[in-house]
Symmetry: C2
Subunit: 115 residues, 2 copies
């Protein structure tokens, strides 16, 4: 885990520290899957405030933290906004095809229940 | 969930009842991933007794139950043995490419840590 050197700098696992089990756990929650789909669709950094989840603010913060600490997303402060980006390159290098397979599955699942 | 009509018949979700989040949760554990790799490598039914995990018997039973209840494996009694099989067809129909991507990732992870 890279140490956070300032309160404004958030800790992230290095690529080598990312574990498959933790990535799967991070993605085993419908809200977190929704965040990841949103980031994948955006294809660029997205502010937390622009990801709408039907949960409280603190629960939303928790979900983003689980995604960051598992290595699925990278978070950084830009001014007053906390920005989020998928770690596509890291995940693809470690687990080729995994993220896309999960994103496809998530889209199908969402289509099968609520759009 | 198909109801278990006898103590010897185990409850399984139907294909339509299988949820992506539950499958990912089931696979987010190193012991359960190991079971799934073993079943994938075998390509046929495997008895619980032939899957060696470094955990207690009751923990092993728990892991198999999580895999069954999430729809990842099918379990059936054959005489005195409890047999296990991957639900490849169901998973592939619901989430194309997902199982293979996870199995590949699990093999790479296992190679990167313990062989």
């Amino acid at each position: 885990m890279t140490s956070a050197t300032s309160p404004r700098e958030l800790a992230h696992p290095t690529r080598d520290e990312i574990r498959l089990e933790e990535v799967l756990h991070a993605l085993s929650d419908p809200m977190r899957l929704r965040v990841v789909r949103k980031l994948a669709d955006a294809g660029e950094e997205v502010a937390c405030a622009h990801v709408e989840l039907p949960v409280t603010k603190s629960t939303q913060t928790h979900h983003f933290r689980v995604l960051r600490e598992s290595g699925v997303i990278r978070q950084a402060y830009r001014g007053t906004a906390k920005m989020n980006d998928l770690r596509r390159d890291d995940l693809e290098a470690l687990f080729p095809g995994l993220l896309d397979a999960i994103l496809s599955a998530a889209r199908r699942s969402a289509g099968a229940t609520t759009a």
